[in-house]
Subunit: 195 residues, 2 copies
DNA sequence: GGGCACTAACTATCGTCATAGATAGTTGGT
DNA sequence: ACCAACTATCTATGACGATAGTTAGTGCCC
């Protein structure tokens, strides 16, 4: 159900083709949700069938066409209803902690490498998200720009603030991962050098 | 693939029936992985077929039997191979951040409630995990007790340390979530009272 | 015009996971 | 003996998601 909501979220900015949506999963919503094109297109068709979005065939190039989807009023209401309903938490599966809990079976070098790679992964993610926050703050992100187009400046700031906050949350989370993994490196050092 | 590794991890402690495994997903590995019984039993059968575990039918009550699975040498090697191979990261989907990024569409009361519930959820998880750490530290956790049975005390400490560390990682993560959600409450207060 | 990269959209297969059951034996309490 | 809770195991259905393709049009550069 959350792919549907991610798609609705994205379409609140502006109408888009399936391909726009796919590319946008690299930018606006992209870091909090993702789907390959093979999942996007069928879902957009289902949503259209359900009345949440409306597709319009528009010209593309000399003779071609493409289909652009716009969110409907029912789509906005559905999205709002989702936002106004507290999330249900599912039991999470954490391959990284599963691994960490059983490192007594691993090679010490592999354990260190795991934590080092974990730090690298999350550090790179943080850079991505900091860039993202920059483009949100200066309104250079195209999707956000479209979303706040014509809005009063207070309202534009409000809309922007929630998105910045979401990315800050992702950074905070990644920072916690890095701190934990650094302790992991120390733990391996301690446990495996002494044995 | 990680259900398989979670099952192998669990079976490094002692042989278990499918039901033992299912119940144990509430205790030892339970907080880093989970599967319902309907997924456990078929996977155990597949693993047996693949030679990673060996099933033995044992008496149960007056006339009944149950099947207990033990990890094989090949199973241990497969588990170690997994541990010694760095994890591949998948694009994560974060329904909570998706929600946060679009709260401009939500009722302010619902937004506050969302953050409040998020804090409550993670606080409760932290309590669970702290309890878990206690049972790991004092070796009262039955699965860990079985795992370290007959081990030298240094080795027992080492095995325990990794598990404690994994749970500390989960707590650290939950604490970051709580801190973020608290900032979220402030943000809602700021953005929605002023408008 | 040809080729390449991009835009636009699609099919297929299968793994992972959620959920709703179901059957049947064992144990312990009344 | 009966019943409820637990132990033990299973089937079925469908949603969600990964991956590996595919076709075809557009635009730009050589």
């Amino acid at each position: 159900m959350s792919l549907r909501n991610a798609l609705l979220a994205m379409l609140t900015s502006q109408p888009m083709t399936g391909y726009d949506v796919y590319k946008n999963f690299q930018t606006s919503v992209g870091y909090v949700w993702h789907a390959p094109d093979s999942q996007i297109y069928p879902e957009l068709r289902r949503m259209e069938q359900d009345g949440l979005i409306r597709g319009e065939t528009v010209p593309w190039g000399k003779r071609g066409t493409k289909k652009r989807y716009a969110i409907t009023e029912a789509g906005v209401e559905s999205f709002q209803a989702w936002l106004n309903t507290p999330p249900e938490y599912q039991r999470e599966r954490d391959p990284v902690r599963l691994r960490a809990a059983y490192l007594e079976w691993a090679e010490p070098e592999a354990s260190s490498e795991f934590f080092t790679a974990h730090i690298a992964y999350h550090s790179a993610r943080i850079e991505d998200w900091k860039d993202m926050i920059r483009t949100l703050r200066d309104h250079s992100n195209p999707t956000l720009a479209k979303r706040i187009e014509g809005k009063a400046s207070g309202e534009a700031d409000r809309i922007t603030a929630y998105k910045v906050f979401a990315y800050e949350g992702m950074i905070a989370r990644a920072e916690a991962e890095i701190a934990w993994a650094e302790r992991g490196l120390e733990l391996v050092e301690t446990l495996e050098r002494r044995g």
